[in-house]
């Protein structure tokens, strides 16, 4: 046991180190390069300079949001894959992203954000996500039992329905609105509202803590629901709480940052291969790696052909997909 603990601590500290390294790197690069060794003096006494405001008003918010969203998405991916015992499940499989996107679309075409303020965009996204969660949940529950397979199928169908509705809305809306919708769907970590960023980080970290309360139950569930029951796990309660937790994490991420694909699918997979399938280590490792992955992708997205900024979802897809195919072929 002692060896296991040491092994786990090494993993956590290595991944934590990588995360801080990437964050510092991301702070220093950009259209105005700030050398790494100047960052600390700038933070301490640079108040008022342009570099200071670039660091604190432009780059730091993105890094914190990348940390929150990347962490939340991979955490939600680990939980769902563990619960469904299906490695292809990801946070967006359950239709939550579709619901959020639909909410934002409706907001954009009715110009609510112009009359009520730009911060209604994440709120309408979140409402859409919640609506889908409730719908999927109530459709898959029979006699108090949450049917896992039903959950998956309903989720996939709701995804299809909402993406069709989004296309319908786009077909009948004006060009400026279409631009706004597409921009949102592609996903971005650009967010100027500090309150929203802090909230996202808070939710994401509390999600990590709550998920740890269920790490043992997740280990038992990896044997199957019936076996978990034989081991004394209250399977129904666990499934319900985990589903709601994963959904809320996804809903929050999507409504703040749009649809950033692949993080929730690839990162948990990788960590399962390298760190092992024990959820006591998998949860934290996925969280840290997801955060690092999204921050580095976002840094690439805004520097690769600067000053044009690429949608971060493009980078996560290409980078994540290639890494994943490589890892799989290497393993076989």
């Amino acid at each position: 046991m002692r060896n296991k603990l040491i092994y786990w601590l090494i993993w956590v500290s290595v991944l934590g180190g990588i995360l801080s390294g990437i964050s510092i790197f991301s702070l220093s690069v950009g259209s105005a390069g700030i050398p790494v060794n100047q960052i600390i003096p700038l933070i301490l006494e640079g108040k008022g300079t342009t570099e200071y405001s670039i660091l604190f008003d432009i780059r730091l918010p993105r890094i914190i949001l990348g940390f929150a969203v990347g962490g939340a998405l991979s955490l939600s991916g680990v939980i769902l894959q563990g619960m469904f015992r299906n490695p292809l499940v990801e946070p967006y499989t359950l239709g939550i992203s579709g619901g959020a996107a639909l909410g934002v679309c409706l907001n954009i075409i009715f110009h609510l954000y112009q009359t009520l303020g730009i911060s209604t965009l994440p709120i309408s996204g979140f409402l859409g996500a919640i609506l889908v969660i409730l719908l999927v949940y109530s459709l898959s529950i029979r006699k108090g039992i949450l049917k896992i397979q039903g959950l998956l199928l309903t989720g996939v169908m709701i995804s299809f329905i909402s993406s069709s509705l989004i296309m319908f809305i786009m077909a009948i809306s004006r060009t400026e609105d279409i631009h706004g919708i597409i921009f949102w769907i592609m996903g971005s970590l650009e967010e100027t509202n500090w309150l929203l960023i802090k909230l996202a980080a808070l939710i994401s970290i509390s999600g990590l803590f709550i998920s740890y309360k269920f790490s043992i139950q997740l280990n038992a569930l990896s044997l199957g629901e019936e076996e978990a029951l034989h081991l004394g796990v209250n399977v129904e309660r666990t499934k319900k709480i985990l589903f709601v937790l994963a959904s809320l994490l996804t809903g929050c991420s999507v409504s703040v940052a749009g649809i950033i694909g692949f993080v929730g699918l690839v990162v948990p997979h990788f960590l399962r291969i390298f760190a092992g399938s024990d959820h006591r280590i998998l949860l934290i490792c996925s969280f840290l790696s997801g955060a690092s992955f999204l921050i580095i992708c976002d840094t690439l997205a805004r520097t690769i052909i600067s000053p044009i900024e690429l949608p971060v979802g493009v980078i996560t897809g290409i980078l994540g997909g290639c890494l994943f195919v490589y890892a799989l072929s290497k393993r076989a």
Partner: protein, 266 residues
């Protein structure tokens, strides 16, 4: 120890088991036999609360099992089910999962005691040398032994096994049933679902024969395994003789061709 009173249950209000009454005493080794679809597994699932009784009740140590919480019950009843899923977990990690019901609140790592108990369970089942191997890489026989080790790590008072010997060669069949017999001698109460009538006859003190969801016959192997009862329940012609060494009943099958030959000769 365990008492099933007028138990009626099934899936989606289709009743598979009707009015079952069984009383299990401490220290017994009971075999449940019966044709496919007669409700053997359903009976086990009712005892482990996977399905709820529609009528009747199940008492464990004189207390209705629905009054237990899942964790309490898992400390007393362990199950070895038919399908043990393969995954990327070492044998040791797998056996340690058996300690889950004994975990305290906010316990993060396994304790020294948990490890000792898991190691003892692996010693008992002869799987200690496999402890670093991955569960998915084991043979079917080894997997079954490891699953039994996990259930022993639960330190149960009652062990339920669902066809632990199917898909295994005779060496493993005997090895596993000998192990179960040994555990039973040491005070563990065992209920075991078996397909193979001759193994059931050889190892169990008492047999319960289910047919179409009802209890057809209950008693010692020589009371239950007569050719009349088997032919009635299984609709198959058999010959029953005594095993020369154990003097327990032994069921012989006869092929259609042989039956016809015999018929011509008479």
């Amino acid at each position: 120890m365990l008492e099933l009173i007028n138990l009626t249950c099934g899936y989606n209000s289709k009743f598979l088991l009707k009015d079952i009454n069984i009383k299990v005493e401490k220290g017994e080794l009971i075999g449940i036999i019966g044709p496919n679809g007669s409700g053997k597994t359903t009976l086990l699932r009712a005892i482990t609360r996977v399905i709820k009784p529609e009528k009747g009740k199940i008492l464990f140590e004189k207390k209705n099992i629905e009054k237990f919480n899942f964790k309490e019950l898992a400390k007393k009843i362990a199950v070895v089910s038919q399908i043990s899923t393969a995954n990327v977990m070492t044998v040791e990690e797998f056996v340690l999962l058996g300690r889950i019901p004994h975990r305290r609140r906010l316990q993060f790592l396994e304790t020294k005691l948990d490890e000792e108990i898991a190691h003892r369970a692996m010693d008992l089942t002869g799987t200690y040398n496999l402890k670093e191997r991955f569960f998915g890489d084991l043979s079917a026989g080894e997997k079954q032994l490891v699953v039994i080790a996990r259930s022993l790590a639960q330190e149960p008072e009652l062990l339920l096994l669902d066809e632990p010997t199917s898909h295994l060669d005779i060496a493993h069949q005997v090895k596993i049933l000998d192990l179960i017999k040994r555990l039973n001698k040491n005070g563990l109460t065992v209920i075991i679902v078996l397909h193979e009538l001759n193994l059931a006859s050889q190892y169990c003190n008492r047999l319960i024969l289910l047919n179409n969801g009802t209890l057809h016959k209950c008693g010692s192997p020589s009371e239950v395994l007569t050719y009349q009862i088997i032919e009635e329940v299984y609709k198959t012609i058999v010959v029953v003789r005594e095993n020369p060494i154990s003097s327990k009943p032994y069921v012989f099958l006869v092929s259609e061709e042989e039956r016809q030959k015999k018929g011509e000769m008479c």
